[in-house]
């Protein structure tokens, strides 16, 4: 019997394809945001709220990820922008290969800002680089303020946390200060913006954040 050193990461193949995606998107001048959250935190509602406000300044495209159904893509398609739906067929997250295929089904010449809406899940998507410029996560106040400690990897890997559904704060016991503090203990560089996709509160700050992210990505 003898030992063979291997030292290979199980995510190695995903990393390789993610780098390909990153190069392709950068080469075309497309900035991409990977939007992640638990199911029902408001990812699609956020995009429906945001994209009309970006019209005229960015040519937006969307990749939708769901385990099943195409309803999210149909909702986004009402905005009259390029959208492609990935149905993962049971898989709990998007991976770089799925996004790679989706990129070739979108008219990339017609896009300079790409939102990739991940599968609703606070765990697995955090492990899989898609080749995006930045990861944005949503936490809705209805989910509870204990989530940073329970799902640290997602908070660690994100650049921006959108605390969504703040219009519900009077009705739920969500300690905003605690959630902010614990999220920043995990990721001191994390940006945090409080928003409501229902009332539109904070959406202007989120759009400023997108502008900053696009400008920084283009400088690179």
């Amino acid at each position: 019997m003898h030992e063979i050193r291997v030292g290979e990461d199980l995510r190695g193949e995903n990393e390789r394809i993610a780098e390909e995606n990153r190069r392709e998107l950068a080469g075309r001048g497309i900035v991409s945001l990977n939007v992640m959250s638990a199911p029902g935190a408001g990812k699609t509602s956020l995009l429906l709220r945001t994209i009309p406000l970006l019209k005229g300044r960015y040519s937006v495209g969307v990749i939708e990820g769901d385990i099943q159904t195409t309803t999210d893509a149909e909702r986004i398609a009402t905005l009259g922008i390029p959208v492609y739906q990935i149905e993962t067929g049971g898989v709990c997250h998007l991976d770089a290969g799925m996004v790679h295929s989706a990129l070739h089904r979108l008219d990339l010449d017609a896009i300079d800002l790409l939102f990739i809406e991940n599968v609703g899940n606070l765990v697995c998507p955090a492990e899989f680089d898609l080749g995006e410029d930045a990861r944005v996560m949503l936490l809705s106040v209805a989910e509870g303020d204990d989530k940073p400690k329970k799902y640290p990897l997602m908070f660690r890997e994100s650049r921006l946390l959108l605390l969504n559904k703040i219009d519900l704060l009077p009705h739920v016991s969500f300690d905003v200060a605690k959630a902010r503090r614990e999220a920043r203990e995990i990721n001191p560089a994390l940006d945090i913006i409080e928003v409501s996709c229902t009332t539109g509160a904070g959406i202007d700050r989120w759009i400023e954040w997108i502008d900053g992210c696009v400008a920084a990505s283009r400088r690179r």
């Binding site: 030292g7 199980l10 203990e185 995990i186």
Partner: protein, 124 residues
């Protein structure tokens, strides 16, 4: 649940490593899983049991080593195990700490059978 797709990757990595050694049967796969890796060891074991058939790892044991989370402060250089996922340096209070261990999900090594010597050992 993404342990099945990760196990496909593991088996491909093991197959390739074993093939590079002339296709000897694999006796053991040693996997390192970090404390902060988004993967469940029990689900991985389960996936290994059902997916190893017909691969080079069919007769192999899966050994999983847990790697604790370790961080290093970029300001003062202190290294520590962060308690409760608090990424603030215990030495200087700085917030610019990098993870240096605990995110692993890697095949560290495999043990393959040397047919001649192992057959002798079996005869003895």
């Amino acid at each position: 649940m993404h342990e099945v797709s990760l196990m496909e990757n593991l088996l491909a990595i093991v197959e390739k490593a074993a093939a590079d050694q002339g296709g000897s049967p694999v006796n053991l796969v040693h996997l390192r899983i970090g404390e902060m890796a988004g993967v469940n060891a029990d689900a991985l074991r389960f996936a290994f049991e059902i997916m190893r058939k017909g691969t080079a790892a069919e007769g192999a044991e899966l050994e999983i080593e847990r790697v604790p989370l370790r961080v290093r402060c970029r300001r003062c250089g202190a290294e520590e195990h962060p308690r409760d996922f608090v990424f603030i340096c215990g030495g200087c209070g700085g917030s610019d700490v990098e993870i240096i261990g605990g995110r692993e999900m890697e095949v560290d090594y495999i043990l393959v059978r040397d047919d001649a010597t192992d057959a002798e050992a079996a005869d003895a």
